[in-house]
């Protein structure tokens, strides 16, 4: 049984690597963008990372809600949900970092500046800040209460993201700022879709793989702590 599990994990890892390699190859041979030249290829890494960072943030919320539900009903289940919340938050921070760094490099070439306080940039930065503060709270909070307190903060953070997005959007419609091209893939040429979709899938699989491993290790840690207490 244990051997089968290990084989499955290994197969998943190999499949992820294969999809990543195909994605890389497709991204490199995709047609060159008419306006931006070669640098536009950053889109194949930047956009999937941004999309999955947001989604994995909600994995963290689901874990947190699980903790809040099972907290007084079943401590072992609560510990498992808490492990999911940890894994979600950590992967979110990593994906957000990748998104911010690639975006900044791309922006330097495409717009001539490293950073601008555009709605999407600000929202992503805040997403990063919120989940870093979530991880810091886990580090600082007293041992017995970590999961509950962190789950509460996770709910606050999840509520914050839409408010940030819409508030910045409203401000920008009031003060029109230059609208920069590139970003959401809406104006993408059909010939670029395969490369984009392969990379989207690849980064999803990679995120799931890392999150799965972290989930297993975090769950063991939390359950070992509980066994000491019980």
């Amino acid at each position: 049984m244990q051997g089968l599990k290990k084989a499955l994990v290994f197969a998943f890892f190999v499949a992820t690597l294969v999809v990543l390699v195909i994605g890389f190859q497709k991204a490199m041979v995709a047609p060159v963008d008419a306006q931006q030249g070669e640098i536009y290829r950053a889109i194949y890494y930047h956009v999937p990372n941004a999309i999955w960072a947001l989604c994995f943030g909600y994995v963290n919320l689901i874990g947190a809600l699980g903790v809040l539900y099972f907290r007084s009903r079943d401590p072992l289940k609560a510990a498992a949900w808490d492990a999911l919340a940890i894994a979600g938050a950590e992967v979110t921070v990593v994906y957000c970092t990748v998104c911010l760094v690639t975006g900044s490099l791309w922006g330097r070439v495409a717009w001539g500046i490293w950073w601008t306080w555009d709605e999407r940039l600000t929202t992503t930065l805040l997403l990063w800040l919120l989940y870093v503060s979530y991880l810091l709270l886990r580090r600082f909070s007293p041992p017995g209460q970590t999961s509950t307190l962190a789950s509460v903060l996770s709910v606050f953070a999840a509520v914050d993201i839409p408010i940030v997005y819409f508030s910045i959007r409203w401000f920008r419609t009031q003060h029109p700022a230059p609208v920069f091209g590139g970003g959401d893939g809406s104006g993408m040429d059909k010939s670029m879709y395969p490369a984009f979709l392969w990379n989207l899938t690849a980064w999803f699989l990679w995120g799931c793989f890392v999150m799965g491993l972290r989930y297993i290790s975090a769950r063991r840690e939390r359950q070992a702590e509980l066994e000491v207490v019980l």
């Binding site: 809040l68 810091l136 600082f140 017995g144 509950t148 914050d160 508030s167 910045i168």
Partner: protein
């Protein structure tokens, strides 16, 4: 009715305690005054009235945010002495009433600081309001409540944490960022008269409603966290 009475009792207790010692109030007043003085020295706003109008809104709110984080921790650490908090946990009264009473008390304290310091702020920064001054009456309470409701909640959350003085700003500032943006944009709109403050006020209203609800719902969880 009973709930409101419990809130009132908590509020009354907070006010009585504070007016006997006046620690939090004096601390916040002097801290915000210092922030205003330091910023005035750094920017020399009297020689650049346009610049002063553009940045004053931001400086005022940042000063108040810093000052309230110093006072909010105090308001809960008082409850730790003699196991008062454990008594609160065992009492049959709704925990959110305790939270609401404390948040309202902190709201009053920060409002007092604003009322005392606003004239000094206007003199130091040589400000003349070019927009609708009456909007300040809506902006100040909404902005103060946005800081105080989350601040009180997170101060309670970090109450038993290691280095809680450090923890509160670390979690409060990211959460409060959209509110801060809205406050600053509305304040700048009022001072310069170049933009309408309404959209900022609307966002603050939404923010306040959402977070007051979430805090009231989740306060019982953090109070009884084990």
């Amino acid at each position: 009715m009973n709930y409101l009475r419990t809130v009132w009792l908590h509020l009354e207790k907070e006010l009585r305690l504070e007016f006997r010692s006046r620690d939090a109030l004096m601390g916040m007043l002097f801290f915000t005054l210092l922030v205003v003085v330091v910023f005035s020295l750094a920017f020399d706003p009297t020689s650049q009235p346009t610049l002063a109008r553009q940045i004053a809104g931001g400086l005022l709110w940042v000063g108040l945010l810093f000052a309230s984080t110093t006072a909010l921790n105090q308001s809960w650490s008082r409850e730790m002495r003699n196991g008062v908090l454990d008594a609160q946990r065992m009492s049959p009264s709704p925990p959110s009433a305790l939270f609401l009473g404390k948040a309202l008390a902190n709201f009053l304290f920060v409002t007092i600081v604003e009322v005392v310091l606003a004239p000094i702020f206007f003199i130091f920064f040589n400000l003349h309001i070019l927009g609708q001054a009456s909007m300040l009456l809506a902006l100040l309470p909404l902005g103060t409540w946005a800081i105080v409701v989350n601040g009180t909640f997170f101060a309670a959350l970090g109450l038993r944490a290691r280095s809680r003085e450090l923890l509160l700003p670390l979690i409060l500032f990211p959460i409060a960022l959209p509110a801060l943006l809205a406050m600053i944009s509305a304040a700048t709109g009022i001072l310069t008269g170049e933009t309408e403050p309404q959209s900022g006020l609307r966002i603050l209203g939404i923010y306040d409603t959402v977070y007051t609800t979430v805090s009231l719902l989740l306060f019982e969880t953090i109070l009884s966290a084990e």
